[in-house]
């Protein structure tokens, strides 16, 4: 029982970065502009958040500047796509590679490290502990003492749902994706709505990145994001950006992630369990794509 609780706890911890990024992806997806640059946004936020945290000694500053870094990437992305009308896929992929280069350059040039960055001065994200949960052993393991972005990420599912379906902004956001012509006809600016989607999306990806370095791992590594930006893209695609589907899919991937780290390596070589999340992503996107809204690189809105 306790083992199961521990496992579920690990799953929830690993769900959070995917969930945050995928919610971010959802904001752009519903507005008709798929976010291909999540990997890069997460990576740069993770790096900047970590560096700011150990230079200022404040996790809050780390969080803030990590998110700002991702938003900055989002601004570049939006500028190229919305203003210069460049291909959203090409720019997204370029930005991912760009940010990989920037991160590698920064840790090499300024910290003389090759693939990782670790400092004892880094202030990690605080954990939320609720005393009344501590009394029950199982509940304590399951629900208590998470780093702050874990509960926040689940709360943001609710917020996203309300924004999408209960606010005028959400209405225009979804309209920009499903019927852009009608939006322009009614006098609203498609570019303005989509610009907001880019910024919100980047901020959420920034939270995801900061959670990985300052919350989950406690250090920065170039392989930290390890394709999670694209796993998040898969999650967004087969839920068509619906926050509830995003939550369910993120949980499934979080469980797969946790399982891949828990399979004892004495029985099978460590490479096999690590393949699990990637295989599941391919399988999931294959099976679900039949039902999801068609989405190919050639039919761009």
């Amino acid at each position: 029982m306790e083992n199961l609780a521990e496992f579920l706890r690990a799953s929830i911890r690993l769900t959070t970065p995917l969930l945050l990024a995928a919610l971010g992806g959802a904001f752009m997806q519903v507005a008709g502009v798929p976010n291909i640059g999540m990997e890069g946004m997460m990576l740069i936020a993770a790096l900047v958040g970590y560096i700011v945290s150990f230079t200022t000694g404040s996790w809050l500053m780390g969080l803030l500047f990590g998110v700002l870094a991702a938003v900055f990437v989002g601004l570049i992305y939006a500028f190229f796509v919305l203003r210069l009308k460049a291909d959203i896929f090409a720019i997204g992929i370029t930005l991912n590679i760009f940010m990989g280069g920037v991160a590698a350059y920064i840790i090499r040039q300024y910290y003389d490290q090759i693939s990782m960055l670790h400092s004892p001065n880094a202030k990690l994200l605080p954990t939320v502990s609720l005393p009344f949960l501590a009394e029950n052993k199982i509940l304590n393991v399951l629900f208590n003492n998470y780093t702050i972005l874990v509960p926040v990420s689940f709360l943001l599912v609710l917020v996203t749902f309300v924004v999408f379906y209960k606010t005028p902004f959400g209405f225009w956001l979804r309209a920009a994706g499903s019927n852009p012509l009608a939006v322009s006809a009614s006098g609203k600016s498609i570019t303005g709505i989509r610009f907001a989607a880019f910024i919100i999306s980047a901020a959420l990806c920034g939270l995801a990145g900061v959670h990985l370095s300052l919350g989950y791992l406690g250090m920065f590594a170039l392989s930290l994001v390890a394709g999670r930006g694209f796993v998040a893209l898969a999650i967004v695609l087969f839920g068509s950006g619906n926050p509830v589907t995003v939550l369910i899919a993120s949980l499934i991937f979080g469980i797969a992630d946790a399982a891949s780290l828990r399979i004892p390596t004495e029985i099978i070589p460590p490479q096999f369990p690590l393949m699990l999340p990637y295989i599941i992503t391919i399988l999931a996107i294959t099976l679900m794509s039949r039902f999801a809204r068609s989405f190919t690189s050639t039919e761009q809105k």
């Binding site: 990989g100 393949m275 794509s289």
Partner: protein
């Protein structure tokens, strides 16, 4: 006559804006380094010395260029047909591994046959790795950007397992295969360098791809598919078959890049064989997919860039990773070059 003149002029203008945008980006790179405290004069000297100072350095640059050309074509052929192939890295690794298997474990063959067999195996390995995302894309509409990236991570793990356990060189401290047989080695062309007779294989492949692109119906159908798939289908192009084929060819080309690294440079399969070079190929395909010649030009520039940063690091202490930043900046500027030049013209006219 008038029409062809006009076309010629457009092609000339396009080429000019392409090249001058790259020059602009390089200039920007100089300015960035200047602001960072390195005088342009020193930068040029350091960069030049690492590529042009001695024959083996130049040969190393050419060797790198061969890999870049192949991975760029690997992304560009599917890109032409409207499919993204971001999986060059994984395809390169699988191709390299397959060719190493043939190189190590097939014995007593004459060199020509042995090399031929290893090259075929390498291309098959790459094509196989591309076939999976291609199949799920065409059969189930599974987004290939996601699946090809996932296949990269899978290839790294699969080859990681294979060279750590079943095919690890006996007694080796590293995760790598044994050396390939003497008969499978592509011999060195310039002493001390990585450049091997794989050069001829790449030249032949490049000519073949140009031929396919310009002179056969395949090339035409890819272009039609990439630009307007509705029209292509009405015109009788078997769209799914052609797209699948383009991915297979892309995978085979990336596999060939891995093969040449194994048979020509390392003489064994090592982990992280390509070192992320597949992404460089994607970048180049994004701006140069329309033309194999452009791919050749940009590959040469990128190869010189990444070679030069070795000199920059040794002499001026600028991390080699700077080249990947500069490459991305080049791509972003080239994608939007028409906006940039329009903006500059406007500014000039206002004055």
């Amino acid at each position: 006559m008038k029409a062809t003149n006009k076309i010629r002029r457009t092609i000339f203008q396009q080429g000019l804006s392409f090249i001058s945008t790259i020059a602009l980006a390089l200039l920007l790179g100089f300015v960035m380094l200047w602001l960072n405290g390195s005088a342009p004069k020193d930068v040029l000297a350091a960069a030049g010395s690492s590529t042009f100072a001695s024959p083996f350095r130049f040969a190393n640059m050419i060797s790198r260029m061969l890999t870049i050309v192949l991975v760029s074509l690997a992304a560009a052929i599917p890109f032409k047909a409207g499919v993204w192939n971001i999986g060059g890295d994984g395809q390169l690794a699988m191709g390299g591994f397959f060719s190493a298997m043939v190189g190590v474990y097939v014995t007593s063959l004459p060199p020509v046959l042995h090399i031929g067999l290893a090259v075929l195996a390498g291309m098959a390995g790459g094509a196989l790795w591309a076939a999976i995302p291609a199949y799920v894309r065409l059969k189930f509409k599974a987004n290939e950007i996601v699946t090809t990236i996932m296949m990269n991570y899978l290839a790294a793990l699969v080859t990681g397992y294979l060279v750590n356990y079943p095919f690890r060189a006996p007694g080796s401290a590293n995760a790598e295969t044994s050396l390939v047989q003497e008969s499978a080695i592509l011999s060195q062309m310039v002493p001390l360098s990585n450049l091997s007779t794989g050069l001829y294989i790449v030249i032949a492949t490049f000519i073949l791809i140009c031929f396919l692109d310009w002179k056969t119906s395949w090339g035409y159908e890819w272009r039609v598919l990439g630009s307007n798939d509705e029209f292509a289908r009405y015109g009788g192009v078997k769209d799914n078959r052609m797209r699948f084929l383009s991915m297979l060819i892309g995978g085979a080309l990336a596999g060939l890049a891995g093969t040449i690294l194994v048979l020509g440079s390392y003489h064994k399969f090592i982990l992280n064989l390509g070192g992320g070079i597949g992404f460089t190929g994607v970048l180049i395909a994004i701006i140069a997919a329309n033309s194999p010649i452009l791919i050749l030009i940009v590959s040469a520039i990128f190869a010189i860039l990444s070679n030069s940063t070795v000199g920059l690091e040794a002499r001026l202490g600028i991390a080699t990773e700077f080249s990947s930043i500069l490459q991305s900046v080049i791509i972003l500027l080239v994608i939007t070059r028409s906006n940039i030049w329009a903006g500059i013209t406007k500014l000039v006219k206002r004055r």
